[in-house]
Subunit: 400 residues, 2 copies
């Protein structure tokens, strides 16, 4: 299927126009990057991208309730389930971060430039290339600049899209374009549960009130219990007691302490198992503390506060959209490889929609650091975009 797409004269024309349009593509990457987009602060970048979509020829552009920017590119048959192609608007960088792009030759350096300004600009340049070459896909393609991919966002853009947008919910496939590079195809979405676990008690003076319950003890037992949970080699399951805090002074039995825990797997069953075990361990530790020491001034208790819940899921690597992406990468000389990580594709995967995350081409690095960079040297950049173009056209279906 991929070979058939690549061989068409219209595809060749589209690929050619990517080259002609490359300077505008780079300019759009810079403009997007220089519009700050911290977690839960994506609105300004969203408005810019909506305008860029209109300027790129989209006739239907909308911004939904949470800030996802949706541009519809109609296919031949509006009754077919559409393809959703997304790139995320948000960065990991807080408000006030200097997002000025520094250029050294073909190397551009700025926070968020690769993850995911280049991905968002890729949506635009690909749509224009298809228009220029007169390519009409069988299915509608919903191009989405979405919010909430990074940590604190907890995939809220995708959650909202797939729970409220009927066309997205019925999608035949999903492609997220995230970060630089070509050949890597995320097919296994690592799911995670993340908790801020608060242990509370009466607290009191360390000498005068010695003998009363201390919430530090059940916290400690929860950590040791967690690290005794056995995990299988496959599917991979992980947990981490990551952040801890609380207490008022060295001579005070703490009234409150907390523990932040992360657990992950591509298997939803394994995440659920570790989750249930952890809750049981924490409750048992609390009960033991209330039995071991005085509760005259009050008991200890535990409260699990959810700080993240990403659904796990996976996409069949032997057929459909994953096989298309793999074949396209290999056809252009990239080494295809399947990756397991947490991305926006987790959400459609968990709903049974074939979903992958692929790169936007070119090279880049130091993501999530102030030194983040991409290289926009013409040949590798255009070649990477061409791979994504072929993948989307093949996934959306097109007459030769």
């Amino acid at each position: 299927m991929v070979e058939r797409v690549i061989a068409t004269s219209s595809f060749k024309a589209a690929a050619q126009s990517l080259r002609a349009d490359h300077e505008r593509f780079v300019d759009e990457i810079i403009r997007i990057t220089q519009t700050p987009s911290p977690p839960f602060g994506e609105a300004e970048r969203g408005r810019l991208v909506a305008q860029m979509m209109r300027d790129s020829g989209f006739r239907s552009v909308s911004i939904d309730e949470v800030g996802n920017v949706i541009g519809l590119r109609p296919g031949r048959d509006a009754r077919l389930p559409p393809l959703v192609v997304a790139a995320h608007l948000d960065t990991v960088f807080p408000k006030g971060t200097d997002v000025t792009v520094k250029r050294e030759g073909t190397k551009l350096r700025a926070p968020g430039i690769g993850d995911d300004s280049r991905g968002v600009a890729t949506l635009l340049v690909l749509a224009r290339a298809m228009d220029k070459a007169g390519i009409q896909t069988d299915r509608d393609v919903l191009f989405v600049g979405n919010v909430g991919e990074e940590g604190p966002g907890d995939l809220r853009g995708m959650r909202h899209l797939f729970s409220t947008n009927a066309r997205a919910r019925a999608a035949a496939g999903f492609i997220s374009i995230d970060s630089s590079g070509s050949g890597g195809i995320v097919t296994r979405g690592v799911g995670s549960n993340r908790y801020h676990i608060v242990f509370s008690g009466p607290g009191g003076h360390s000498y005068d009130k010695f003998g009363i319950v201390n919430p530090m003890v059940p916290l400690a037992k929860t950590v040791t219990g967690l690290y005794q949970i056995a995990v299988p080699a496959t599917p991979k399951v992980t947990y981490s007691a990551s952040v801890v805090g609380g207490g008022t002074s060295v001579n005070t039995i703490p009234p409150q302490v907390f523990l932040d825990v992360d657990m992950r797997s591509i298997s939803p069953e394994e995440v659920a198992r570790v989750d249930a075990e952890l809750r049981a361990i924490a409750q048992k530790a609390v009960d033991e503390e209330n039995a071991a020491r005085s509760t005259a001034r009050g008991k200890v208790s535990v409260d699990f506060q959810v700080i993240g819940k990403r659904p796990a899921g996976h996409t069949d690597e032997t057929k459909g959209i994953a096989a298309i992406a793999f074949g396209t990468a290999e056809a252009f000389g990239y080494e295809g490889r399947f990756i397991e990580v947490s991305t926006d594709a987790n959400v459609p995967m968990s709903l049974g929609i074939p979903a992958i995350t692929i790169g936007s081409g070119g090279t880049g690095g130091a993501e999530h650091s102030p030194d983040e960079w991409i290289d926009v040297a013409l040949e590798p950049s255009v070649k990477g975009l061409t791979v994504d173009l072929a993948t989307i056209i093949a996934a959306a279906g097109a007459k030769p």
Copy 2:
């Protein structure tokens, strides 16, 4: 002995002059209070008190290397071991605290006014009363306004005095005048060891690096191990896992976490036992973690950082200085009672010097809070000062 002192005409004259001098006493309390004296910032108050000592008739006043203000009142025989009478210059209140004294009738309200401005002013008013009445003690009396009594100071004023001042080191007795009230006599100095225990490891991504050692685990085992240490009913021994912290984000295995621990007893042996057990528990927990998980990226380790070490000690309650203070309080109608707590007297107690801490008389409350207050109503205030006067004269020895 106490009765004999009280019965002398010179004592009666001295007591009478306390009444006549009371207005100046109150004025000095206010001036001392309004000169800020945060932990490690006692110099300005120290200079004021040195000047007040000179104005009160002390001929030999010095300030030592750490800021203790020492006024010598010579006795009959300079070869006798002296009596040390101290009150502390420092307050718990940080730099910038409003220390303006607010007056409502005989009630004065300001941070530190009772703990221990009134105690420091007591040194001055008592020395003047003894001078006025022509009382010459057998022993020299070293009046000391000392630094570092409160938490962070960790008794550094007393430590310095008793380790570097040969006359203090040879003292026959020690009296600290600390806070308001009469009748309470601290004879049991609660000692404490306080640690900031840092657990370190390589750290890494919670999913990618799962399986490496996590310093949170030995921290947790140290807490659970500490809370399994059995303690006797007498002497009282306490411990507290009080403050905890560390970690960078929920999806990062922490490179470092810490635990602040407090342990106390009037028995130095018990503090040493808990201390040794805790160190063994922490080391065993670290060794177990290095054996249980991968150390390919580095091992976990533990570092005990001392944040406080107050020596324990006690003073015989049946004779000497404690019995004198008890007898004096009862002679003036106060209920004598022996108290166990940590004060400046811990240091001389730990060196075998009979040492007590008593109140400066009057009433007061809300110490260590911005609402701290004392009442300087004439009768109870003078009566409390008279008790301290009798105690000091009896302890320093005086001919009738």
